[in-house]
Symmetry: C2
Subunit: 705 residues, 2 copies
């Protein structure tokens, strides 16, 4: 029918019919029947997914056999239950508890595809991988896959409040309907777990790090338990954010001092109460003494004291504490970029072994581009967990097409030099650099109640890509984009090629039209929607954009070398030299580390001022190119999603121009120079841009917090 349309709810699990007739015939022939080992909720999930996946892809009833026939069959079976002859074909020693083998076996006795693993969850992951192979139209002949995740804790952080608003959420509201839980199980909870399992995500922190203690009361724990019960068969563990002052607010104690005996006991009891309800509860995620949140420092204690308090409570239950390093203080007038390092690094080695320190990818705050956080590699005795932001607080909300795995990849591949060349951030995160016992990667979710989960259809790629990189931090962002495109839209090469290119270039586009040449945090106050480089009236200096760009009559940029804040000294000496030297500092970090005159000469011979204008224009032009590319894709995409993306690209172009015009007009009040000839004339006056107000922009922190 002409009205059929894809609202995107199914994400990359589209399972649409294989449109290559000969391939379809081959698959149908190779997968005539299915045998799945019996037993347990996860095995039921596998069966349902195969019924749905194979049913959709092959457009025929899926025939499940009660016994293996080994002939033109898909077999999903635990390793321990395989016959001796099949066991010899796979080596379980290579598998972690979440890993799996997929092999096509053709010999005298067998003509089959085998998925095997040590655990049911491994089988589920293998099943999703197998379905992806079909979705990507890859041949099954000679198939041999061995996969184990390289990172232990692969989790989403939901900044979801109990009133269902989502801090920095741009895809509607929280999918957790606390009011109707525990008795009403929304189908979304199940599909959320499916989607996560399909990319190997195994943990979810349900609540905002700006936490509310109420979630730890029995009334809410009953609701959390209901979600945990839904998620369990999918290998997805639940974590909660622990408000440090909860012993006072919900426990009735007079203090939350981490060394107080009653406080220690309260957390022990509370933790036990949680595990009695949720035996596989993951642990606590904590934001303490940061942006107004309570913490151990309220009692003259340290982050170490706070983290170890909760670690001791969790230890008997095998839970972990994930303690965020995102701290900066209004009482500390050193460069905000330096403060987390100074606070945490000295205590390396003193944390309990079930504590992970969760560090944002860069030293400021999820900017379009930052150098990697100097803590990575600087705490060899402590597990450092990566915190990426999947929701686009500073990258165009859910209206801009910006493919984030490209950003994640850049961070993961950055070399810390902490153990010589090749000491990449990925090696810190996966623990291989310092042989960590437990490792993790977190992504701040971009998921909401919008029909397609993420608002922008391409936002789904960021969720997908985060999961894939958490599983394997060495994956290539281009490969991931291609997987996602094929599973979500079509395998048509005339679509996959151009759109993949567009995605890979989109991240540099947003850097160009928002924060080029190392500029950062020039976002308007509070909601971070649109440019506000002129903002200078907030109570804390480091909340003002002027703190970061430091534009003045002489020039622009933040001097973080020895002549400035010396934040650079927190990096390995090799990087200190590279970034500190104007000859070798990459232009993308130029104004991050240096304050330079407006007429400073860039590598291309143009002045810094001209270079700035040219970059802004380039960003706008890149969005124009994206619009052209997408227009050409009309034949390959359903009308619904094509139209969605077209409208959103229109907004992106409008806002890219807004950024260019607002920033360049503002900086011109200092540079007093003409715009470079390459740059289009601004569409409005500086006064106009300064007058814009958005009191109801989405994602603002609610007043009660």
């Amino acid at each position: 029918m002409s009205f059929s349309m894809d609202n995107g709810y199914n994400l990359w699990l589209n399972y649409s019919k294989i449109d290559d007739a000969s391939l379809l015939e081959t698959y149908r022939n190779q997968l005539q029947t299915v045998f799945v080992t019996d037993g347990g909720a996860t095995m039921d999930v596998i069966k349902r997914e195969l019924d749905r996946g194979l049913g959709g892809l092959l457009q025929q009833e899926v025939r499940f056999e009660p016994n293996p026939t080994f002939q033109n069959q898909l077999i999903v079976s635990r390793y321990a239950e395989l016959g001796e002859d099949l066991r010899t074909l796979v080596d379980p020693a290579d598998l972690t508890s979440e890993g799996y083998f997929i092999r096509t076996i053709e010999n005298k006795k067998h003509r089959m595809v085998l998925i095997t693993a040590q655990t049911d969850i491994g089988l589920l992951y293998g099943t999703f991988h197998f379905l992806r192979i079909l979705q990507m139209h890859q041949a099954l002949d000679g198939l041999q896959v061995m996969e184990s995740p390289k990172v232990d804790i692969r989790m989403l952080n939901h900044w979801d409040n109990l009133d269902r608003t989502v801090e920095r959420g741009y895809a509607g509201f929280s999918i957790w309907n606390w009011h109707t839980l525990p008795d009403y199980i929304d189908q979304r909870y199940i599909d959320y777990a499916r989607a996560n399992a399909s990319i190997g995500i195994n943990g979810t922190a349900l609540t905002n790090v700006n936490a509310n203690g109420l979630v730890l009361t029995p009334h809410y724990l009953e609701k959390v338990k209901a979600l945990a019960d839904v998620f369990r068969p999918y290998g997805l563990k639940v974590y909660l954010t622990a408000r440090f002052s909860a012993p006072i607010e919900i426990g009735g104690l007079k203090t939350a001092d981490p060394l107080d005996a009653d406080v220690i006991q309260w957390w022990k009891d509370k933790t036990k109460e949680i595990y009695d309800l949720i035996p596989d509860f993951g642990g606590f995620l904590v934001k303490a003494n940061s942006e107004g949140q309570p913490g151990p420092q309220n009692y003259g204690r340290t982050h170490l004291d706070g983290a170890n308090l909760l670690a001791d409570a969790l230890k008997p239950h095998e839970g972990v504490v994930i303690w965020r390093a995102f701290v900066y203080s209004e009482h500390d007038d050193t460069d905000r970029a330096k403060q987390a390092y100074s606070e945490f690094v000295p205590d390396d080695g003193k944390y309990r072994d079930n504590v992970l320190i969760q560090v944002k990818n860069g030293p400021i705050d999820f900017q379009p581009r930052e150098p990697f956080h100097p803590m990575f590699g600087a705490m060899p005795k402590t597990p450092l967990m990566m915190e990426f932001q999947i929701t686009k607080e500073y990258l165009g909300f859910a209206t801009h097409l910006v493919y984030l795995p490209k950003l994640f990849e850049e961070v993961l591949r950055s070399d810390t030099y902490q153990k010589g060349k090749g000491s990449t951030v990925a090696k810190v995160v996966d623990g291989s650099l310092n042989h960590k016992k437990v490792t993790g990667m977190a992504g701040v979710a971009n998921i909401g109640t919008d029909a397609n989960w993420t608002g922008h259809p391409f936002g789904q790629a960021d969720w997908y890509g985060f999961g894939r990189l958490a599983w394997d931090p060495y994956l290539d962002s281009g490969t991931i984009a291609e997987e996602w495109l094929r599973c979500t839209f079509t395998n048509n090469e005339n679509f996959v090629g151009p759109v993949k290119k567009m995605m890979l270039e989109s991240r540099e586009a947003v850097v160009n039209y928002m924060n080029p040449l190392g500029l950062h945090h020039m976002f308007d106050t509070g909601h971070h929607y649109g440019p506000g480089p002129w903002v200078d009236n907030l109570s804390r200096p480091e909340w003002n954009p002027v703190y970061y760009h430091k534009a003045d009559d002489e020039g622009i940029g933040f001097d973080r070398t020895k002549t400035g804040s010396d934040a650079l000294s927190q990096y390995a000496p090799e990087l200190g030299e590279k970034f500190g030297n104007l000859e070798t500092c990459p232009e993308e970090y130029l104004l991050w580390f240096h304050h330079l005159p407006w007429d400073y000469q860039l590598k291309n011979g143009r002045t810094l001022w001209d270079g700035l204008g040219i970059k802004y224009q380039q960003g706008v032009d890149q969005v124009g190119d994206m619009i052209k590319t997408w227009e050409d894709m009309k034949p390959f995409v359903d009308e619904y999603r094509h139209n969605q993306v077209s409208m959103l690209l229109g907004i992106q172009l409008k806002e890219a121009k807004w950024w260019r015009d607002a920033c360049m007009l503002y900086f011109q009040t200092y540079s007093k120079m003409d715009f470079p000839k390459e740059m289009e004339k601004p569409e409005n006056t500086l006064e106009h841009y300064k007058s814009l107000q958005f009191p109801f922009a989405p994602g603002i922190r609610p007043t009660w917090n």
Copy 2:
């Protein structure tokens, strides 16, 4: 596939294949081709709807012909464009501008179904009616339908805030995504307009009556215009709530005094600005001097002054003012039930002719049961618009199955006796009692971002039923239920019969388990979730449940006869006698009008105390019966929706018991009598029920308002 499921997004416009093979054959034969008159956006909408509707129902490609063949054809044509021979078959004088004819014509020249109307909107309404006939599997032979709406303004009131929270919204958040408007047009906007047009709703007030002036600024008006442009082809006009103090807040004036010349000019200019953008803008909906909202009384003026101020501004553009009568004052210590009447009735006849006074169905506030509002029939010279609440603020949020058209019907059929027997509320509302020039009915929407729009699948029936009753206030609620069931689920009589019965009984069930025998407003504070009959500590007396039930050691109930507040005197003398006399007062209004001793003897011989407990128990038992009925419906409903409703009925039963136990335990502290033997033992103590707190219950008014 086993995973196929209906998430309810398509509402009653399901258009699923006609499953009766012979009927399908007949339809296919009778509707071989379609001819639709050319021209204009509404005609395009009609074509698209027929393509979708007939395509789905008949499961075949719809063949549109460029010219009428009159043979086995559906013809949708303006009356003016019909040939003389067809014109003689219909009489246009009987049609209002929104009315339509549908006729099956079989004669020598013709063998066709004709839909005709004076206007394109009439054709659209006729098209939807025709599709409903097919959805209900009705024969086309001899079909002869002539329909015109009995009420002019048939509108939804959205209590939606600019931050997308919805006051008294229980189906997620506002479907208006103000942030991405005007450039991003969500498919929901289009489907919202379709759904409304399908039941004849022709107006929508987008914003909360607790209004924010910002919606009248250019930044937001541009967004409103985008919605109006989407809605226009569907005959749906946009209205806005006007904050009375907007001239100060967004206009920069020092006053909002309705007699001030600058204020008068400001509203004239603002109104013109709106009409320049939206030429068919409907008008303003105003809540003034009510529950903290600003209004003319702030300046020593009257509601009359305020309403006429806006009416004069709207008059040149043919817009209307809808002024709400929901007012009660903290400075007025008379019975709250009396205040609106006292405030408005004396000014009957003084309002401009483009003012409608919008009156809630009852004198208090959308309770499970109230007698009709005494203003109906008491202002013969002023159009009184009905305000129903479709969202279930006081009827179980979106978790209880309560079929509201049953309540609406009860109100509309109530006899005001204002012009003798038979002066029903319906006749006041449709204007026939006093020959009104303009008439209207509003429903406070239950629509939100939930996949199925209304949260509870059966909440869709309330939206549907409201629309149908606004079109024709004399329709029977059972007929409406049946229409909705057939279009939404199935025509299987084994389903339609029992479920219709369940729906019709559901309203009395909620009265029984919440507020039996005329009790009212015993809801917990603020959020109105669950029972709070004990609440007595709010600053204004009429905000406390104890104000309404007046339980004491002697008895219970609000004496509104001459010996009490005398609110009864606001009704016609016939009703004063009937309700005032204990012999003739219907038991459902007993404690609304009378304070009676605990041992007062009811008609069945039991004491009032026993009767109360028996009613509460009966409500609980009725929910138990609904659960049984629904369980039996499993064969007829898709798993998704069957499971949804089952879970929700589980919550309803739990909460029905909660109401029974909390209220009866509380009242027992006064009656000091044993529970009647028919009543189950309470599950918890009164202290437990009093201790329950729900700070994040949905639908609370945000703090900024």
